[in-house]
Amino acid sequence: MSQDIRKWFMKQHEKGTGNGNTSKPTKPSTPEKPTAVTSQPEKLVQGVQECSGRRKTSKYFAKDGQSAKDEMDVEEVSAKKKGQRGSTEFVSDVKPPPGKKTHKLEMDDEDEDFVTPTSRKGSTTPNKKLKSGSGKGVAQKMVDEIDEGDGGKVKSNSKSVGSGRGRGAKGSSITPTTAEGMDVDESDAEDMDDKDAKSVKPGGRGRGGRGAPAGGRGRGGGGRGGFMNFGERKDPPHKGEKEVPEGAADCLDGLTFVISGTLDSLEREEAEDLIKRHGGRVTGSVSKKTNYLLCDEDIGGRKSAKAKELGQVLIFFFLFFTGFLTEDGLFDMIRASNKSKPKTSVKDSKKLVDKVAPSPPKKSPQKSEKSKQAGDVSSDTKVLASAAVSSKRKSEPSAQNLLPWTEKYRPKVPNDIVGNQSLVKQLHDWLVHWNDQFLNTGKKGKGKKQNDAGAKKAVLLSGTPGIGKTTSAKLVSQMLGFRAIEVNASDSRGKADAKIEKGIGGSTSNSIKELVSNEALSLNMERSQHPKTVLIMDEVDGMSAGDRGGVADLIASIKISKIPIICICNDRYSQKLKSLVNYCLLLSFRKPTKQQMAKRLSHIANAEGLQVNEIALEELAERVNGDIRMALNQLQYMSLSMSVIKFDDIKQRLQSSSKDEDISPFTAVDKLFGFNGGKLRMDERIDLSMSDPDLVPLLIQENYINYRPNAAGKDDNGMKRMSLLARAAESIGDGDIVNVQIRRYRQWQLSQIGSLASCIIPAALLHGQRETLEQVIDAVFMPIMFHYNVYSLGERNYNRFGGWLGKNSTMGKNYRLLEDLHVHLLASRESNLGRATLRLDYLTILLKRLTDPLRMLPKDEAVEKVVEFMDLYSISMEDFDTIMEMSKFKGHPNPLDGIQPAVKAALTRTYNKGSSSRVVRAADLITLPGLKKAPKKRVAAMLEPIDDNIAGENVENEEETPSDTEDQEDDDDLVDPEKKLQSNLESLNSKGIKVQMDLKGSGSSSARKVSSGRGKGSASTSDKKGVVGVLGLLRKERDDISIYKPQVFFLLPLHFGKNDGLCY
């Protein structure tokens, strides 16, 4: 495969320049297959392969002296090569021109990258000229240098010449991009200007590919940079637009990749998958073993910096860091492998690999054996091995085969246990010393020993299921000759019943007690029969309900126990075990790493004659989430149908398992609506939509309009899209109807149909590219948790959080307020109207009667008139606000416009003054036990504080203090802060600063505080919590700010919120 890589590089080179100097390497890129090429290139190829071979082995043995040996090997080979090679440009590699170093010093860091290789290449003059230039020039130069870098790679490995090697490679990787005129040097700063620049801070990648495109925009906008950086990776700019190549199965074998930043067309997961499928390895961070850093844009982030650094430093470690690679490069690599396939068969190439990598010294035999197997064997040992394997395979189908592998390969000795060896050792030691410590020592010594920290009478093993706790416990005790008595959840473990305790051991707990207390006796008397006994209490955290007092009893048992007790639990921090942990030696088992598991699995696979490469096994280990039993079962199952298991097989087989829990509703929606949403299988779609059956439909509903459906195809007038939308909308409606059936009539069997209608069908109709709908009017959808819709910057192209929850909550609140008003009106006995009627018909006139006088008449007269009217209809001040609130429509003038704050204040004052003398009509709402006559206001006031307590008495009080959820502002106070806010906004806006504001929605008191805090301006608003408002408004929208007062509402279960005033 490295051959293929080689080929790719050469191709690049050829494309890039007609530099005659490098004529030799160009040859392989000519149509002929590598085998047909002249001997020299072939050798080069070999060299490369050798490299990779060595690379592979030393990947495993990178540590200690091993590397030294490797070094030797390689040096040898390379020396050989050198001799054969004659005086090509590689000579210049061997003897770096003296100028190189000075060059290096002269250049700044970035330039250095590109320059060094050039300088190395002393003889190629055109490049030298270009060297100091940037942009296109660099691009070209780079192309030249690919070869150099590549050739250099071969050698520099052995020669430690090449700090320049990594550089050269980097240049090569960048070439494709430079062809587009990108200035590599300045990628970080300048591609921001580029419209297409999709740069993302690699550091800022987070969950599921959503979130702030902050990197890009932030930097583009100057000072706003850091704001949204917690956000995440962007979508690939050309997502799904490129054809993903299919290559030879293991063309990337032995290569280690690190992916950084956003790739051009692949999601990170896809890229990972692609690499793995072709035998490559993907790690999270750059290390010595990294071969390639896969990235499409810069980058400038930590990974690339580290990669560069490594490229420099690690030369000395003979490292394998070959360079930066773009996605296209990766594709080419894979494609190249495919092309070369028919000509040089896999075997050949593998042979080559093997030849060049002559059996590396084996420190851990098993691993090397593995690699050999992967290489499919040409050396003698390998032939033998394979023979052995095949023979094994043939001889196998005998009796043993009948056993499940989990049984067959159950660890026989503690050393077989995968992972947690130190804990097993600890357990072993503890058990060994138990008798000494607690039994055989004399009475004097006992107390002293118990003070010893290590000396606990019981041990508590904790860890997730399936990682071998029970097995360890059993094995260790078995090895030490203990007789294990296991008590688990299937036994009743309650507190021993007093009655039974005396007599026959009816329940297990009693027998335990007996066992525990009598052991000393039996120990003395029947030592020969049952030398030692250990009690294994399995699943102690499962002791609940039925096992009343179980833990307490267990502790008591531990105290008196004369045998060791091993307790096993899953969650050692469980409340139930709180008291127990004090009496136990705590051993926390961890999940074995995937490498550990893969190792063991490959043992077993070998023994069974199954060919599985390590990557595949690691994938398997990852998928089963540490459960080796499950891994074995899967493996056995697969072994029935195939003898060679590849990465893809495992991926396919375990597709649905594991990883499920990672799906957030947002990712689910992303996937469903994604470009490839149409290719998902039905069960996958159902899984996705079921990841949160409540939230996903809401997200779908919120966002489906934003997708430009693939299905519409060419759609000039948008007609197809519109009709698809209509269909989707109807289907969403269906989903709602089904949901009613499910919830109201508990028809849970319909839930699949529900998710089909509400999620899958709309997504199937509309999946495609998401686009933003420039939205000026409505900005209420402020998904605070995950997104910031910053409207000043245009809507962000990410799925919004469902607006329904918020709207519904506001609606609920308003209905409550309306109901209050309704009750008051009814109580006034002036009118008998329904709630709907009140809203639909009465509200307009009520509003008029309440506000018009304030606007037109002189202050005192107006106030008097309005208060009179309010009294007549028992409208309280809160109701007044309700009416105002409910008459507000977006885009319409505020009903309170034109009313002087002073007038409003006067109204409030007058109303409050009158309230003491006023006969409260609504007071007759109160019925008190024993009181026939309705109490007057004073009584009502007395009752107020205990309102809640006598809720059973059906107290309804008009003058009730405003309920917690309503927020009310005294409108006179309101105006000023609003203005302040606005001015603040303007100033902030001009500076391009985004301000996060917390608005507290926890009730009227805080809201009041805010409005009264007019002096503080935005500072006062910022002490509200629960709502994050983003100030960053279009100039024209700003006019509306004063219209909308901050309105706060709650969402379940999170405190989302909106702030009308700020959103607009």
């Binding site: 934003n706 709207k807 009814l826 018909d841 429509f889 977006k890 019925t927």
Partner: protein, 372 residues
């Protein structure tokens, strides 16, 4: 006091509109026992007024002395107890409530609360009648289950209790309930004689009801207002044949500007104005973006407590105003379709949006077909 309340007829004799029905009702309750009654008709036609007048006829002035109670009921429903909060308006002789306020728990309201109320004989036995009256509002909004539970109650406790049901549409009241009641259709009053285009219609309506215009003129006279000619007509025209609406907007005009001028604008209801804006924005453009904007506006209406059915109805009305006649039928069909689904469902916005999307799709197709 608002004119609507001020000039609301207090007794059956004083009823201006639907005098014939009022007289019949009077005869009904004076001469014999009162059956269960079902009043249905569009809003603003006078159902509530008639009911109140009827109660007054039955129980005298004591029917006026109502108190409002906001009660929490604990209903024992099998394994769990359900809290139902309900506002009731009660006098010694009657209780008025809107069971549909309890949402999907209305079944428990009917099964437990109403039954409880119906069981108890009125405390005050010296009253003329040996029964109490339960007035149930918005019966058409009751769920099917609730209506089923209601019919048993109606039969079982008929000796001690009469039900007066009030709703807009009798079609949403089950057959079983309708057959147990004396159905009173209260039709919307006609705007005025000028609106009766044919003589036949004029004759048809004249004896049965008075015109809205007449009522407005009556109020104007009582208030001592100068009504310019045609002004009352315009109000009546805008009122959509709802007397209440007419009187309210009459008063709104009065508050806004007096003396009246002939072409004084009659302020529309805030929400109706908003709906008509939505309609025109739909006509202007049919695109996903516009759909999204419309969604925002619909949310706005819903938040302001406008019932979704009303929104849909009004929206259809506004759309039909400007629509080509070919599309009217189809649009109405879909409106009905989505209105039905709206009731089946729970999240109103989904269905409203679906209707808008459907309409946009149809209309866009139509435009493209017609104008290319």
């Amino acid at each position: 006091m608002l004119w609507v309340d001020k000039y609301r007829p207090k007794t059956l004799d004083k009823v201006l509109v639907h005098q014939d029905i009022a007289q019949n009702l009077k005869k009904l309750v004076t001469e014999q026992d009162c059956p269960h009654l079902l009043f249905y008709g569009p809003s603003g036609s006078g159902k509530k007024t008639l009911i109140m007048a009827l109660l007054r006829q039955l129980f005298g002035a004591s029917a006026d002395k109502v108190k409002v109670e906001n009660k929490n009921w604990k209903v024992d429903a099998g394994s769990r107890t359900i809290d139902v909060e309900l506002t009731t308006l009660s006098s010694t002789h009657h209780v008025e409530l809107s069971p549909s306020d309890a949402g999907f728990q209305d079944r428990y309201v009917v099964q437990e609360i109403i039954k409880e109320m119906a069981k108890n004989r009125p405390i005050d036995t010296k009253g003329k009648k040996g029964f109490k009256v339960l007035v149930l509002n918005e019966v058409d909004k009751l769920s099917r289950e609730a209506q089923h539970s209601l019919r048993r109650t109606m039969e079982k406790y008929s000796s001690s209790c009469r039900l007066i049901l009030c709703c807009n549409s009798s079609s949403k009241v089950t057959e079983a309930i309708r057959s147990r009641c004396l159905n009173m259709r209260i039709s919307a009053p006609t705007e005025g004689e000028n609106f009766c285009d044919t003589k036949v219609r004029r004759q048809l309506f004249q004896p049965m009801s008075m015109y809205i215009v007449k009522v407005l003129e009556f109020i104007g006279k009582k208030e001592g207002l100068q009504l310019p000619s045609g002004f009352a007509d315009r109000i009546a025209q805008q009122s959509n044949r709802s007397l209440r609406r007419a009187i309210l907007s009459f008063e709104t005009c009065r508050v806004q500007q007096y003396p009246f001028t002939t072409n004084q604008p009659i302020p529309p209801m805030d929400w109706e104005e908003y709906v008509s804006e939505i309609a025109s924005s739909i006509f202007k453009e049919q695109s996903p973006k516009r759909l999204f904007e419309v969604r925002g506006k619909l949310y706005e209406l819903l938040i302001n407590c406008i019932p979704p059915e009303i929104i849909l109805k009004r929206l259809l009305y506004e759309l039909l105003k400007k629509l080509d006649s070919e599309l009217k039928h189809e649009t109405s069909h879909w409106a009905a379709y989505y209105e039905h689904r709206l009731r089946l469902g729970q999240k109103a916005i989904f269905h409203l949006e679906a209707f808008v999307a459907k309409f946009m799709s149809i209309y866009k197709g139509f435009l493209i077909e017609t104008f290319g």
